[in-house]
């Protein structure tokens, strides 16, 4: 984000500590004193943040905690039901399936979306000319609106032998494949599209990190007679460890909440093979025309959030040394 930092760095090489000449306004005083110090104006300026966060973030978060122990429909007053919602969710045979599917999605996403961007980034970092073109091409799919990408790929995935991908497969004597129309191949098909849509971003992250690799180590390795592969293995990758770990966690957090692809590609089918946790939450809450099981939906989302919070905490721990 050099665009942000350049003016900042130009005008303020080091952010100065709060000026000692600045009057301390945080004084215990009368309301009149508060007013004279501009307390009201401050409050007015803070109001958009307080209102928007209050109503659309803090309040719903609190409400989630309450709703998870209530039976809430839109007709009658909410009733306290203790942990019934959690029990209901944990006893739902679909939960196990959704968790397994979500993990499967995450695993496949790692298999497809982890090594390839890394290899591409390493290769691109060695490009002397037209690096911008390389990155732009890699990033282009990220810019395509996700819904458009899914609908387009849904057409590509047409399972008849005249489908786009099946035609291509036919050129080399393969297929036709059922793609989305089969319980086994549906999930990999979703992940393939999701990887296509997201890999460009990962490439850009790796590229940025590769720039920061300490080059004197390459020279040291060369003195030891290391070839290209050994340099990558012993110098490049170890230095990328931090960023590799971060993309790993980010990817897991992202894939744990996957919704768009299964919802639009397969509706969770065939035979629930692509039903993910977030889709199950959606089904609980919005699957019935006569009012959803909002308690169960919130209970499940809190459980998912618990898992993600652990990951987020790990993530923030790892990144903190850099941000302070």
């Amino acid at each position: 984000m050099t665009t942000i930092s350049s003016p900042l760095r130009a005008t303020a090489p080091a952010p100065p500590p709060p000026s000692p000449t600045r009057p301390r306004r945080a004084r215990r005083g009368t309301p009149r004193q508060w007013l004279r110090d501009g307390g009201l104006s401050t409050l007015v300026i803070a109001l958009p943040m307080i209102l928007v966060f209050g109503v659309f973030s803090w309040f719903p978060i609190g409400r989630a905690l309450v709703m998870s122990v209530q039976e809430t429909n839109l007709v009658t007053a909410p009733v306290f039901v203790g942990l019934d919602n959690f029990v209901f969710v944990l006893q739902d045979p679909l939960l196990g399936k959704a968790v397994r599917n979500t993990l499967w999605f995450a695993l496949l996403a790692l298999v497809f979306g982890y090594p390839l961007p890394l290899a591409a980034a390493v290769l691109m970092s060695e490009v002397r000319k037209m690096r911008g073109l390389f990155s732009a091409l890699a990033y282009l799919p990220v810019v395509v609106p996700p819904v458009v990408a899914v609908l387009l790929w849904k057409f590509f995935y047409d399972a008849s032998d005249t489908g786009v991908f099946n035609t291509i497969a036919g050129w080399v004597g393969l297929g036709p494949y059922p793609w989305l129309q089969d319980a086994t191949s549906a999930m990999p098909s979703l992940v393939l599209e999701a990887t296509w849509a997201a890999a460009g971003g990962t490439v850009i992250i790796y590229l940025a990190a590769l720039v920061g690799v300490r080059t004197e180590l390459y020279e040291a390795a060369e003195v030891d007679g290391a070839g290209v592969w050994r340099k990558i293995w012993h110098v490049t990758l170890p230095q990328l460890r931090g960023v590799l770990f971060i993309t790993l966690i980010l990817q897991v957090i992202g894939t744990a909440q996957v919704f768009l692809e299964p919802f639009l590609f397969t509706g969770g089918g065939p035979n629930n093979a692509t039903l993910t946790v977030l889709m199950l939450i959606y089904d609980y809450a919005f699957g019935s025309s006569l009012g959803g099981n909002y308690g169960a939906a919130t209970a499940l989302s809190l459980m998912l959030a618990g898992v993600l919070a652990v990951l987020s905490a790990v993530y923030f721990r790892v990144t903190r040394p850099w941000s302070s």
């Binding site: 109001l47 958009p48 209102l51 839109l74 007709v75 045979p93 047409d158 399972a159 008849s160 032998d161 036709p176 059922p178 989305l180 129309q181 089969d182 319980a183 397969t266 509706g267 089918g269 065939p270 035979n271 629930n272 093979a273 919005f286 699957g287 019935s288 025309s289 006569l290 009012g291 959803g292």
Partner: protein, 457 residues
Amino acid sequence: MKSAQKRAAIALVGVLSVAVTLTACGSSEEPAAEPTGPVTIEVAIDAGLEPEAISAFEERILQFEEVNPDIQVATKEFTWSGTTFAAELAGGTLPDVFPIPFTDGRALIEREQIADISELVAELPYADQFNPTIAEAGQDTDGGMWAVPISAYNQGLHYNRALFEEAGLDPDNPPATWDEVREAAKVIADKTGQAGYAHMTQSNTGGWILTTETYALGGRVVEGEGEEATATVDNDATAQALEMLREMRWEDNSMGASFLYDWSTINQDFAAGKIGMYVSGGANYPNLFTQNQMNPDEYGVTVLPLEGDDAGTLGGGTLAAVSSAASEAEQAAAVKWIDFYYISKLTDQEAAVAEAEIAARTDQPVGAPALPIFDQATYEQQQSWIKDLVNVPLENFAPMTEQMFDQPVIPEPSVATQEVYAALDPVVQAVLTDEDADIDALLADAQTQVQGLLDRS
């Protein structure tokens, strides 16, 4: 500051809505005999209509306003959808008059989430002439009609006449048994390369069609009503239907390559000539014709083959309901609109002809058969009024119309209908996408799940 304006705007919206709510609450007293002063109602118009259909609708509104000078009619795009209906109901964003499927009527009435218009409906001249099985969908337990049936369908076997001919089959002589369905599907798939028989599987439609097939083979997925409803998903007829699907899919390979169809996508592929036969509501024709531009000459429909004791055709339909937020005057106006727009074209010669003329002029289908909501005589009389305006190939409907009145119509499961269907979707998907699917095990699981759904509701 801009933000101040925005906040003021929010506050203003708030005040207005509160005012509206207060008005709505304040007027829930005895029904006034006649609405005093002009009243405006918002009525549902199907989403995604072609401009011609919209202008036809607007023409009807003008006619209505001429007869009822006190009533102003505004339109609001609304197509019932399972995922958003509950929210629109709770959020109060429904129009004053809106259609709902038969399957939701009972539950909405029980919870009083739609307006009680039964006294207003009782005054309509045809109030006691509804086909009793159909009227039930919109009645409370005492027989008061809260929601008016406006159309009904029975399931039918739709087929593509062009594909039949291409495959060397006689389109005037469609399959009459399920064995013949299977044979025809195989011939179509072998000769034309298209799907011989396709099946909906998504968004509760898989369960809907599986239930239809179960009924046609003499089974039921739920027995009993209300508190006593028990799941009977694990029955021979359902197993037989699934076995038939398995054979067509995996032995005959006659079901094509797409197994994630819902109602609109299967219609799209059928209209595009990719499907030989499929089961769906008998009243699909307008959708195929207006929204999917199917060539009418290629369209054919027949009744479902019924086999076994107790076999029947699944039937359902649409009710017109009035928003519970509507004031007395708005309710009265809403019932007048329902009478004018939805019903009079079925019971009144002048209205029937007027409606048909507009439809014919704007290239909407006229004369496509549907299940009568009154008796067969009323229906046939109505068809005779408009017979000069009919613009659909009636002879293509003959296999259906010549037999449909002889078939028993069985209503959909009355409790948690959509949830039961949803639970059956994966069963159909499993059979169609997994060669080794264990039908007995699938049905046993679904049985437990459906019973759980029934117990909870």
